[in-house]
Symmetry: C2
Subunit: 204 residues, 2 copies
């Protein structure tokens, strides 16, 4: 048995959304400890006790944010179609991950911050949500490899390498900006490179 949990009012829905948007901006930029309730409050035009009215603690905001975004974040992996063309499915996944890195760098950095520090507030969710999906999709990739449609390799490490390369462009943007400055076609170049890289790697 949990809470009575009445349906949330319109105001509740709106304000929780405002809070999460401000929290995403700040947590992704400064990490959990580097963000204060006052910052979140002023970023969304509220007062600190008002945040606590909607979330019982700063940690509750962070956890809700992580868990809410994780589902969307993983949806492209979910979308691997076992009946599609293996190479096209993998490249579509990789392209989508690059696009998400470009469009949603805050989400990427939010997770990066959390996981680099040992995922203290997300481990249960990783076990419960990510692990089963990961195992299942590794299975699909493995099937494709054994059918000779993709080069044979360890599917888990393959997925790690896709995550690593694609999310690197969001997570390490500060460094990349220094090393490839003033390149307004950087994103395009990155996307071309990554697609060609994995096309070559995955060719049987």
């Amino acid at each position: 048995m949990t809470e009575p949990a009445r349906k949330p009012s319109r105001i509740q829905v709106e304000n929780r959304k405002r809070i999460l948007e401000a929290a995403l901006e700040l947590f992704s930029k400064h990490g959990f400890r580097g963000t204060t309730l006052d910052q979140i409050a002023s970023a969304c035009g509220m007062h600190k006790p008002n945040l606590i009215y909607y979330y019982e603690s700063k940690e509750a905001i962070h956890v809700d944010l992580l868990n809410t975004l994780m589902t969307e974040w993983l949806s492209p992996l979910n979308a691997l179609d076992p009946d599609g063309d293996p190479m096209e499915e993998m490249l579509r996944y990789i392209r989508r991950k690059m696009e998400m890195s470009r469009l949603y760098p805050r989400e990427s950095r939010l997770f990066a911050n959390e996981i680099v520090q040992g995922a203290p507030r997300m481990l249960p969710h990783l076990e419960a949500t990510l692990k089963p999906l990961f195992d299942q999709q590794c299975g699909i990739v493995n099937t494709w490899m054994h059918a000779g449609k993709l080069a044979t390799m360890h599917p888990a490490h393959l997925i790690f390498s896709i995550w690593a390369v694609t999310q690197h462009y969001a997570d390490f943007d500060a460094q990349i900006s220094v090393l490839l400055p003033g390149d307004d076609k950087r994103a395009r170049g990155a996307e071309q490179f990554v697609e060609e890289m994995f096309r070559k790697l995955l060719s049987p």
Copy 2:
């Protein structure tokens, strides 16, 4: 003209080393804001004001740590030998990066924490130290490619992908442990995978 800057005493050398070791452990695990001077002090058996005796502020500890470690961290890139065999040089670099990820995950996560948050205390050092080295080594790689010794691709993105994949094993270890649990040969498998991946990618 800067400080008089007398040669540091034996005690100074020892104690700064103790402080940096404790700071590395804590900053890499909890980030800059997530680490307190009291934690650092008790981790190295000192008292808080003693830290301030050796470093003028918490930030000074962090900056010194980052700048000190960066040189070692980059040394493998520095070691690319323009006269060596291109494929062997690249694979040696990649192997060394994997080894460092395994042996020095704290250093990797220290930098990851800093860069994910926009490198607020490291940007000048990136400009001054990393950028010139990076450009130079990109040049070497480019030469190798144009000599037909390596597959042709954007050298900067190639190096990014090497960093991404190798450091991922240190930075995202919390996630990898969940997804490939109980695998005491994980590191070996990762090293094999990554070497084969880049061997295939780099073959002309």
